[in-house]
């Protein structure tokens, strides 16, 4: 036996030191990259923000130019989220707590597969299949729910509307959100599930008493991941949407706001001079939006920490 010496500077093993160094290095690299992107966007973007209307292609000053894009970006992402959150929670709960084991495994595998489909494929599906199929439903919505500003119409003849985009985005973000929800649902402590069941809870009531509260922050994280993807999605939106730079709550007409990402993709090739700077500046706006969304989500998750059960 060796005598363990107690020193004021505990000896650290080589492996620990290497790992600590590597992980610190990785963290610094990530922060530096993030800072680099932010600096680039700011330096290149500010001239675009300050440019006068006759120096850029749009012929508008920056705020009126970017306003509708921000609106379109948020609207499309919001539609996607409104559809995807309940569906992903439902599917995930089915897989984790209702489906027989075999079926659950197959569904989990399919969902993971869907997550790997590239967005251009979703774009093709949206324009080649979904848009056409939605023309008739949009007509119905205009006729029966036209009193709501969302469905005021006139309904688009091509179906290439912001609502179609929202649906395509929802389908795109469903797999990742479902996968995250399923993971956290499966981690619900047995202890609390049994507590609920022993009180005479049905399976659905057990989900409400034990599963959802436990999974709350995981659901929010999943939704934020989905939202981030929806906000930044380029190809699918650029392919499906027929955009015309308006601000409108009308979800089914042929005049739709574009989104920041799609607009950059569609305009960048032909842009030059300060127009490029204006596009970069719109990218900076998207960067800020994504950042704010994530901070907001963190705040929501942290607000009821006492009740999170993390230490129970």
């Amino acid at each position: 036996m060796t005598v363990v010496e107690v020193s004021r500077h505990p000896v650290r093993r080589l492996g620990d030191r290497v790992f600590a160094g590597a992980s610190t290095g990785a963290a610094i690299t990530i922060l530096a990259t993030l800072a680099g992107v932010a600096i680039f966007l700011t330096v290149e973007g500010v001239p675009g923000i300050l440019a006068s209307p006759d120096e850029v292609k749009s012929g508008e000053s920056f705020l009126p130019y970017v306003g509708p894009l921000v609106f379109g970006t948020l609207l499309a992402a919001a539609i996607a989220l409104v559809i995807a959150v309940p569906v992903s929670i439902g599917v995930a709960l089915f897989i984790s707590h209702y489906a027989p084991r075999r079926l659950a495994a197959v569904m989990g595998y399919l969902i993971d597969l869907l997550a790997a489909v590239p967005s251009v494929v979703y774009g093709l599906w949206g324009i080649g299949f979904l848009a056409g199929k939605l023309v008739a439903p949009y007509g119905w919505l205009e006729e029966h729910l036209g009193f709501l500003p969302f469905f005021a119409g006139p309904a688009s003849a091509t179906g290439r509307t912001i609502l179609t985009v929202g649906i395509v985005l929802a389908v795109m973000i469903l797999p990742i959100m479902t996968a995250i929800c399923r993971e956290v649902f499966l981690q619900t402590p047995r202890l609390h599930e049994e507590a609920a069941l022993a009180l005479g809870a049905t399976r659905w009531e057990m989900a409400r008493l034990a599963v959802f509260p436990h999974a709350r922050s995981g659901i929010i994280s999943g939704a934020m991941l989905g939202l981030g993807r929806a906000l930044g999605e380029t190809m699918a939106v650029a392919m499906v949407l027929s955009a015309s730079g308006v601000v409108s709550w009308n979800l089914i007409s042929s005049t739709n706001p574009s989104t920041i990402a799609a607009n950059i993709a569609l305009s960048f090739k032909e842009a030059s001079g300060l127009t490029v700077n204006a596009l970069v500046a719109s990218g900076l706006v998207l960067f800020v939006i994504t950042f704010v969304v994530n901070v907001a989500a963190r705040l929501v998750v942290d607000r009821r920490k006492d009740f999170s059960g993390a230490d129970a």
Binding site: A195, L199, E205, L209, A312
Partner: protein
């Protein structure tokens, strides 16, 4: 309101594994029945078959009859959800819902049963359940705080309050004190004494003194051998089982010669 239970020829399985075999035992209303026996002999398994929590485990099933007030718990038209509302349960490890306040924990079961409660009714129900569980004085000023912030003994009494707030007829307790300190254990034993005026109580314990202190009837379970199913060896009045049991295995176990 209290209820007697009649178990006859109950076999309990996990998949193909027969865990408990051929249990026949009557359990008297408004009394405390203790299950004792070496670990792994199926005390928890049997207890959980009394409120159909056993079948929550994948592949788990039972054969035989469990009559509660003459009605078979395992009848074709019996919903396990209704059974569990009538037969409450307290677990080995305290398990209050961590995201809920103390107040909401107590009401969790009632909110399942009834649609809407008036605020005053809810307040009364919470106070009544917490008083019965001997916890009211300690928590009345922090009902809105999370239940997970309480000590282990307090959490367990909160779980008892939660279980009795739905006014079940039977209360099952699976080693409710095994995770608690001696003081909290005494508090809960006193509580069991008070609760038996209203409820039929079945408690699993590995602590012989505890069985002797709290129960009227004691049932001794044992394993016939390694890999063999658990069996009910004998049951009877607690004084008799502890002073003059019929079976030598019971005597050996009680005197601490094995287990």
């Amino acid at each position: 309101m209290a209820t007697s239970i009649d178990v006859s020829d109950l076999n309990i399985y996990y998949g193909d594994f027969l865990a408990v075999e051929g249990v026949t035992i009557p359990i008297a209303a408004r009394s405390v029945t203790a299950f004792i026996g070496p670990s792994g002999c199926g005390k928890s398994t049997f207890l959980r078959s009394l409120n159909r929590m056993h079948e929550v485990v994948r592949g788990a099933r039972v054969e035989g009859k469990v009559l509660v007030d003459g009605e078979d718990l395992y009848g074709d038209d019996v919903d396990p959800v209704d059974v569990r509302r009538m037969v409450g349960m307290v677990f080995q490890r305290p398990n209050p819902f961590p995201t809920m306040s103390i107040y909401d924990n107590v009401l969790a079961g009632q909110r399942l049963n009834s649609k809407r409660m008036k605020k005053t009714d809810a307040d009364d129900a919470v106070e009544r359940a917490l008083r019965s569980a001997g916890l009211w004085a300690e928590v009345k000023d922090r009902l809105d705080r999370p239940g997970s912030g309480l000590s282990g003994g307090q959490q367990q009494r909160l779980c008892i309050a939660r279980a009795i707030s739905v006014e079940p007829e039977v209360l099952l307790m699976d080693e409710p004190c095994s995770a608690l300190d001696p003081i909290s254990t005494i508090v809960i034993e006193d509580l069991i004494h008070e609760l038996k005026a209203q409820y039929t109580i079945v408690i699993v314990t590995h602590n012989m003194q505890q069985a002797a202190r709290v129960s009227d009837t004691t049932a001794f379970f044992n394993l016939a051998g390694v890999g063999m199913p658990g069996r009910l060896v004998e049951h009877g009045a607690t004084e008799k089982i502890f002073s003059n049991p019929d079976e030598s295995a019971t005597e050996a176990y009680i005197q601490g010669r094995f287990g």
